[in-house]
């Protein structure tokens, strides 16, 4: 199927009333999640996963994807108006966005964030369309050795690119892989680490684990501090940026698009890293860097474009290869697997309607988001005021219902609570839980491809070096490790001299 007819069929799917509704619902919930405190897109997607089981695969993907990129829009609203990022990828937007709001320019800040998001989002969908298909065509020839090496590289890169300590991220990856071995071994049929619990024979469920780590533990973290917000009280007017604003923003928006898209494809931070890199870049090349942090519109336009461009880019590895680059995509992939579709190169041939439907829904969703966020900004500002003491019990209830209704099994609720406590303790000790989740999803594929490769080669490890793609991937992975070690020792040395 060529791109034109594929896209046409995609739009036919999206404009079916049901799917249109799901697209709308997805981006609406996404914006809501972005605006509300205490719950991010990962937790929200995990919470809503059970309600999508009854839908067709394409519908469930449309709604989940909508939540993801919708949250990027909503997150910027709180950054600008309240100085609290609704979402990790809007952290940098607080620097200049909130300052603009204080200077009475909340309108243009919100406006340029929305337009930048639309432009970045739309171009990244175009990129996704043109890149995913050729990549999938190459990837059809991939066997277990290639998958083993690619997943190695994905995990190493996600450690390397993580924000916190490399050491801690690495421990999280290992823990995620260990957790992924729980349940029946698909090759020998032995059960591992179930300790007599029947529910664990199929492995630890994705939904209770994700809800615990990203829903419950988030609530527990928020309970520590009061989340009373000081909302900017000025009237929001002139949502459309003027000519001067556009002149200043057009450079940051185009650079943000070009920068965000490839960064989204890379494993690890995705949208978060893209927004930080874009901000740093704009500040560096600006002729008046001193304006940054005091309400420079470039500091809003660049990062807000970059994070949406990255959101689109991150769909490529999961749709074309079946390897999720970040935790949100890992949950999306889990949704596909539960629907009986294995994401990856074969999916594009077997279920083209899923791919094209989602791509088309992203064009549509980005436009709906612009309409939702600009004319209806007042509604979101009202929702900003919902106090956490009302929200918190509701978030917990949704987690409880979500984990129970999967299989009507209380054990899954208990698993969720355990993961919630574990996630809370890990966060307290500065361990990031996102790499754990990525490794948890990739673990079974990784182990199987390892063991299948060895069966193929009669137990010879040279198979990983004989296949050219696998060899190159492993070489890159090795280089990344060497680079990380050099950096680590330099830092140690410098600290030693300093002391």
């Amino acid at each position: 199927m060529d791109i034109f007819s594929g896209l046409l069929s995609g739009f036919q799917i999206v404009f079916q009333p049901v799917n249109f509704l799901y697209c709308f619902a997805g981006v609406f919930i996404g914006t809501l999640i972005g605006v509300l405190p205490g719950i991010g897109p990962t937790g929200a997607m995990a919470m809503l996963l059970p309600t999508t089981f009854g839908l067709s695969p394409v519908s469930s993907l449309i709604i989940l994807a909508g939540i993801f990129y919708g949250a990027q829009y909503g997150g910027s609203t709180t950054s600008i108006l309240v100085n609290i990022p609704g979402e990790a990828s809007s952290i940098v937007t607080t620097l200049d966005g909130y300052q603009m709001a204080r200077q009475g320019r909340a309108g243009p800040a919100l406006g340029i964030a929305a337009f930048g998001s639309l432009i970045g989002g739309t171009f990244s969908v175009i990129g996704l369309m043109f890149l995913a298909l050729p990549l999938a065509e190459i990837a059809v020839a991939f066997g277990p050795p290639e998958y083993f090496s690619l997943i190695c590289l994905t995990m190493i890169l996600s450690v390397y690119l993580s924000r916190g300590s490399l050491f801690k991220s690495f421990i999280m990856i290992i823990t995620g892989l260990i957790l992924s071995t729980v349940g029946m071994d698909p090759i020998s049929g032995k059960t591992r680490f179930t300790f007599g619990c029947g529910t664990l024979i199929d492995g630890i469920g994705l939904v209770p684990a994700a809800m615990g780590l990203f829903g419950i533990s988030e609530v527990l973290m928020n309970l520590e501090e009061s989340l009373e917000r000081v909302i900017f009280k000025a009237k929001i007017k002139n949502l459309l940026p003027n000519l001067e604003d556009w002149k200043k923003s057009i450079g940051p928006i185009s650079r943000g698009t070009l920068l965000g898209f490839p960064l989204g494809i890379l494993p690890g931070g995705g949208a978060i890293i893209a927004s930080f890199v874009s901000y740093a870049l704009e500040k560096r090349i600006s002729k008046t860097p001193e304006r940054f942090g005091h309400g420079a519109i470039e500091g809003v336009a660049g990062p807000e474009t970059a994070n949406n461009a990255a959101a689109g880019g991150s769909f490529i590895p999961v749709l074309a290869l079946g390897i999720p680059p970040n935790v949100v995509m890992a949950i999306l992939m889990g949704a596909l697997i539960i629907n009986g579709i294995t994401p990856g190169p074969l999916m594009l041939n077997q279920y083209p309607e899923v791919f094209w439907g989602v791509v088309a829904s992203m064009y549509l969703g980005n436009i709906i988001l612009l309409l939702l966020n600009l004319p209806l900004i007042g509604l979101w500002v009202k929702l900003l005021k919902v106090p956490y003491r009302i929200l918190m019990p509701l978030i917990l209830l949704f987690c409880l219902i979500g984990s129970y209704s999967l299989n009507n099994n209380v054990v899954e609720v208990i698993i969720m609570i355990i993961f919630g406590v574990a996630g809370y303790v890990l966060r307290k000790f500065d361990f990031e839980v996102a790499p754990l989740m990525v490794a948890f999803i990739l673990g079974p594929i990784w182990e199987n491809s390892w063991r299948q490769s060895l069966v193929m080669s009669d137990g010879k490890f040279s198979i990983f070096l004989e296949k050219p793609i696998s060899l190159v991937t492993l070489a890159v992975a090795t280089l990344v490790i060497i680079n990380a070690l050099i950096k680590y020792y330099r830092k140690k040395k410098r600290r030693f001299i300093f002391e």
Binding site: L223, P393, L400, F461
Partner: protein
């Protein structure tokens, strides 16, 4: 700081050893022909080695110098956290006995009230939420335990 790092390292070492023991029991096979336990055994081993390295570093630091003075602990609201956890655990234990409607109502009432909402908000909020979620989720085909309404 250093103290907590030692405890954390010890925890990961413990977890790693635990995983290694159970993986060994599952059967390791050979490198060229791995059995069910080999991967988790190796992962456990990496975990132990990494944490040992971290432990040694923190111990060396500690014996060398006293380390920075203890940071003033910020006021953490452990009471509320404990309350939420107890509520969650209680919910999962009584859900199938009392049924969705009653259990959820008690759960919400308790949390709304203890978060500092007024009585009237608590009462209306929990009643409305129970009814709304029951209707919406039943509409989507979710079956809740009927409990005593059987």
């Amino acid at each position: 700081m250093s103290q907590s790092r030692i405890i954390v390292s010890l925890f990961w070492i413990g977890l790693g050893v635990f995983v290694m023991i159970f993986s060994y029991k599952l059967g390791l096979g050979r490198f060229s022909n791995p059995d069910s336990g080999l991967m988790s055994f190796l992962l456990g081993l990496i975990l132990v080695l990494l944490s040992l390295y971290s432990l040694v570093i923190s111990l060396l630091k500690k014996s060398g110098e006293e380390g920075p003075p203890k940071e003033a602990r910020s006021q953490t609201n452990y009471g509320k956290i404990a309350l939420v956890l107890v509520a969650l655990v209680m919910y999962s234990f009584i859900l199938e006995k009392l049924g969705f409607v009653i259990t959820t109502w008690i759960f919400l009432f308790l949390l709304f009230r203890s978060m500092g909402n007024r009585w009237i908000t608590t009462l209306i909020g929990s009643t409305f939420t129970v009814l709304a979620t029951y209707l919406v989720f039943t509409f989507f085909g979710v079956r809740f335990p009927p409990g005593i309404f059987r």
